[in-house]
């Protein structure tokens, strides 16, 4: 027997186990690398790029992606260490056998280390290759142009996983090398088996199936605990990605749909409508015309028309807006209220940004905003800014000596007139670079006394087509060149874009779920294999085949449900407390999340029956041998 030939031949002869180990390692490494590359591409890419999502949404998305990425890395690492531990722990008996026939300790250890190195190396190399392949395919599919991936992730994943695999794989080898052949051959040392002889009554009252299942679990507690730990992290990952993803999607979708009623009718000059729609569609389309002249007098809508429209019985509200594009300035030198003069803290600097300035009449608003603070209350010195403006102009900036900054304590300047910021809102318009101020005040500043855009909220029982026709005829009769339209398609586009973005990241952990499922099946296979002699005895004495499946089902059920409970609990806490504040959770959200998680659990449970089912179908003599 050549020292290199034996391990290789041994791996080839044990096709199923070797394939499962290499497959799990490959999947684990590939999915981790792919997910890191993709998360980096998608999450951090979006989070750092202006002009796609608002900065507030990007921040949430980036935080979410980062967390998913970290969890994926942990799952991959635990998965890798567990699979090699299982692979090597399973060989304890073989190790004992080879030692028993006189093979020197160092040579036996060498055989198994060669096996470990071979499988780990093959698994990691294949994993890295498939990881890049998956990233390449997905990036071409999802993004319009392929950007070279961050290659630094490859050595990070390869070396981390390779070292972890070696470390955890070597532990059982080193442990068994210190054993005598008899110890190594004993089932007590096989597959992490620990003999647990507690005080039992001579005859237990519990059913025989439960008794055997529970005691077998108890005797393999070290392996079981590792499996529960692994699956718990997988379920945390799954909960954060599915529950968090659904909650985040619904919440953020509500943030971007609430500011504009999807059934609202918009009336403005055709160029203004086009510009407004473009400005609203920044998530998925190129930006609006940056040279558009919002102050053009031909865009203004006369009061007479507004009054005429307000008289229509089908109209609930006419939200008149004056939309302008201006540079806003952070007002420096704001002191925190209530501070003594000696301890006055001045906040902010002189930062500037382009912003859409929207003058509104608070009594006529047709939308609502998700806000930090509150919306305009009627006081003409108040302003509400978009989240992108807040996150670009009102953040701590040590390089400019701004040690403290908080938009709700500061002000925004517009043409030398100061407004106190009372709220920060999420608004898809102009990607969150918006400033809402009272219409009258804006009119005073700019000298423009009429709105250039109307948002009209219709009565719910009205047929919109009839009203639009009616409005068009009124406008025509007035001799004005205004267009009547609605914004539903733009809102829909934003919703779809946001949903698909969340869905993409929600799907990523499915790779990890697949890896964990394969690992769990491998574990159950080893577990069933370890119990095969006892199952054969039970069958020979009169147990029906389903008893074997039942015992295995109880064992896998206990492991899975325990992990599920732990994973879900931590996952929900992490999702609701850390990742999203004020989450939008409805009954349908809970049902949808439950359905997804329950499906994953049931799929894993059903697949875990396979090894026992396969054994139960085999003849008793085959099981015995």
């Amino acid at each position: 027997m050549s020292s290199a030939g034996f391990p290789i031949n041994d791996l080839i002869r044990r096709k199923l186990q070797t394939t499962l180990t290499v497959l799990t390692l490959t999947l684990s490494v590939a999915s981790t690398l792919f997910l890191l590359l993709f998360t980096n591409r998608l999450g951090l890419g979006i989070a750092s790029s202006k002009g796609t999502l608002t900065l507030g949404l990007s921040g949430i998305f980036g935080q979410f992606s980062l967390f998913i990425g970290a969890l994926i890395f942990i799952v991959g690492a635990v998965l890798t260490s567990f699979i090699v531990f299982l692979m090597m722990a399973q060989r304890t008996r073989d190790f004992g056998l080879i030692k028993a026939v006189g093979c020197p300790n160092s040579l036996v250890a060498g055989y198994f280390m060669t096996e470990l190195l071979t499988t780990t190396l093959v698994g990691c190399i294949l994993g890295i290759a498939f990881g890049f392949l998956a990233d390449f395919s997905t990036a071409n599919l999802v993004f319009s142009r392929y950007v070279t991936p961050n290659f630094l992730f490859a050595p990070l994943v390869f070396f981390t996983f390779f070292i972890l695999a070696l470390f955890f794989g070597l532990r059982p080898i080193l442990k068994v090398s210190r054993m005598t052949p008899i110890e190594a051959l004993s089932p007590v040392n096989y597959f992490g088996l620990t003999e647990g002889v507690s005080k039992h009554k001579p005859i237990s009252r519990r059913g025989i199936t439960w008794r055997i299942a529970l005691r077998s679990l108890y005797r393999r507690q070290s392996a079981i605990l590792r499996m529960v730990f692994l699956l718990s992290i997988v379920f945390i990952l799954l909960t954060v990605s599915i529950a968090g993803g659904i909650i985040a999607r619904n919440t953020t979708t509500s943030w971007i749909t609430n500011p504009i009623d999807k059934d609202a009718i918009v009336i403005a000059d055709s160029t203004m409508i086009h510009q407004y729609k473009m400005s609203l569609s920044n998530f998925s389309k190129p930006q609006e015309n940056l040279d558009f002249n919002y102050s053009d007098p031909k865009l203004l809508i006369p009061d007479a028309l507004i009054k005429q429209l307000e008289t229509l019985s089908s109209v609930d509200a006419v939200d008149s807006r004056l939309v302008l594009s201006k540079t806003v300035t952070e007002m420096a030198g704001f002191a925190i209220l209530g501070q003594a003069s000696s301890s006055t803290v001045f906040v902010g600097g002189h930062r500037q940004s382009k912003s859409l300035i929207i003058g509104v009449n608070t009594a006529e608003l047709t939308g609502s905003w998700s806000l930090k603070g509150h919306f305009l209350s009627g006081n003409d010195s108040e302003a509400v800014i978009g989240d992108s403006l807040a996150l670009s102009m009102y953040v701590r900036d040590a390089s400019h000596g701004i040690a403290y900054s908080d938009p709700l304590l500061e002000g925004v300047g517009l043409d030398d007139i100061n407004f106190r910021i009372v709220g920060v809102c999420v608004d898809p318009l102009n990607n969150g670079f918006v400033t809402y101020v009272p219409m009258d005040k804006l009119a005073n500043i700019t000298g423009i006394n009429e709105p250039n855009l109307l948002l009209i909220k219709l009565n719910a029982s009205t047929n919109p087509n009839t009203v639009i026709a009616q409005m068009k005829s009124i406008i025509q009769a007035s001799g004005l060149n205004l267009e009547v339209s609605n914004l539903s398609s733009e809102i829909e586009q934003n919703t779809v874009f946001l949903s698909s973005t969340w869905q993409t990241i929600m799907l990523l952990p499915l790779f990890m779920l697949a890896s964990a499922t394969i690992c769990f099946i491998s574990f159950m296979m080893l577990s069933v294999d370890e119990q095969h002699q006892e199952f054969a005895i039970l069958r020979a004495i009169g147990a029906k085949p389903r008893i074997i499946v039942n015992i295995s089902a109880i064992q896998s059920g206990i492991v899975l449900f325990t992990s599920f409970g732990i994973g879900i609990s931590f996952g929900i806490v992490i999702t609701t407390i850390i990742l999203m504040t004020n989450p939008l959770i409805t009954t349908s959200t809970v049902l949808l999340i439950s359905a997804w998680l329950f499906s994953a659990l049931m799929a894993m449970l059903a697949l875990s029956f396979y090894p026992a089912y396969r054994l139960a179908k085999a003849s008793i003599l085959k099981i015995m041998t």
């Binding site: 089932p187 003999e195 002889v197 005080k199 039992h200 009554k201 001579p202 005859i203 237990s204 009252r205 059913g207 025989i208 008794r211 055997i212 005691r215 077998s216 005797r219 002699q533 006892e534 054969a536 005895i537 039970l538 069958r539 020979a540 004495i541 009169g542 147990a543 029906k544 085949p545 389903r546 003849s619 008793i620 003599l621």
Partner: protein, 234 residues
């Protein structure tokens, strides 16, 4: 005297032309060749023959653990060939007690539980199970080991537990595959005593064995050679 019997109510085991062939690579190995055998109720039968002669395979087929390639098996008037696994499991549980050479106790169960579990599948009341377990352990002299696990027993003790388990459901037929094969003389003697007890109590016992003491107990001795029945005599 050669035994020639027809299948009657007094016959508990009857085989007709039993043949068992294994496929090993391209080769077919015939382990049993045309074995026709009848065992009357309450008989003590010893199956002897050299290693590889087919003793274990014959016992496994009679016990419904293995299936013949050809031929038929009747136990207590029930034909076992062609029956599904669920039927065979239930049949083994109720009508056959099996004792293996390597004891084969369930390591996660205590001695008492090992004896009790075949009765649990027949849904006997707990009180009856407990009573019977105590009786059976007394019979094999292990009543003080009830709460121990198999790993805490000697080989001889484990084999006696295996006999107690085989008797749990009071089966009509006890099959024992070289029950003293792994034991020293002292422990083997205890197993012979258990077998003597079964014979005295009118149980039908079929034992494959090389042990002359056990063969001496036999009402009927069946000798196999290379899978064929060489002799069958009383």
């Amino acid at each position: 005297m050669e035994i020639r019997m027809t299948q009657t109510e007094d016959v508990i085991v009857s085989t007709e032309g039993l043949t068992k062939t294994f496929q090993v690579g391209d080769r077919k190995i015939t382990v049993l060749k045309d074995i026709s055998l009848q065992i009357p109720k309450a008989n003590f039968v010893a199956i002897c023959g050299p290693s590889g002669s087919g003793k274990t395979t014959l016992l496994n087929i009679i016990g419904g653990i293995d299936r013949p390639t050809k031929g038929k098996v009747f136990i207590a008037g029930e034909e076992l060939t062609g029956k599904d696994e669920d039927f065979l499991s239930e049949f083994r549980c109720n009508h056959i007690g099996f004792v293996f050479q390597s004891y084969n106790l369930v390591s996660t169960l205590t001695v008492a539980e090992n004896v009790a579990f075949p009765m649990e599948w027949t849904r006997k009341p707990s009180a009856e199970i407990e009573r019977r377990v105590i009786d059976l352990l007394k019979t094999v002299g292990l009543e003080n080991r009830a709460a121990h696990f198999s790993s805490q027993l000697s080989g001889g003790e484990q084999q006696r537990v295996a006999f107690a388990r085989a008797l749990a459901n009071d089966p009509e037929l006890i099959l024992a595959d070289e029950p003293t094969g792994n034991l020293d003389a002292k422990n083997a003697q205890k197993i012979v005593q258990v077998l003597q007890f079964l014979k005295t109590n009118g149980k039908t016992v079929v034992v494959s064995t090389h042990d002359l003491q056990i063969q001496a107990l036999a009402d009927q001795v069946v000798c196999l050679e290379e899978g064929k029945m060489a002799t069958n005599y009383e």
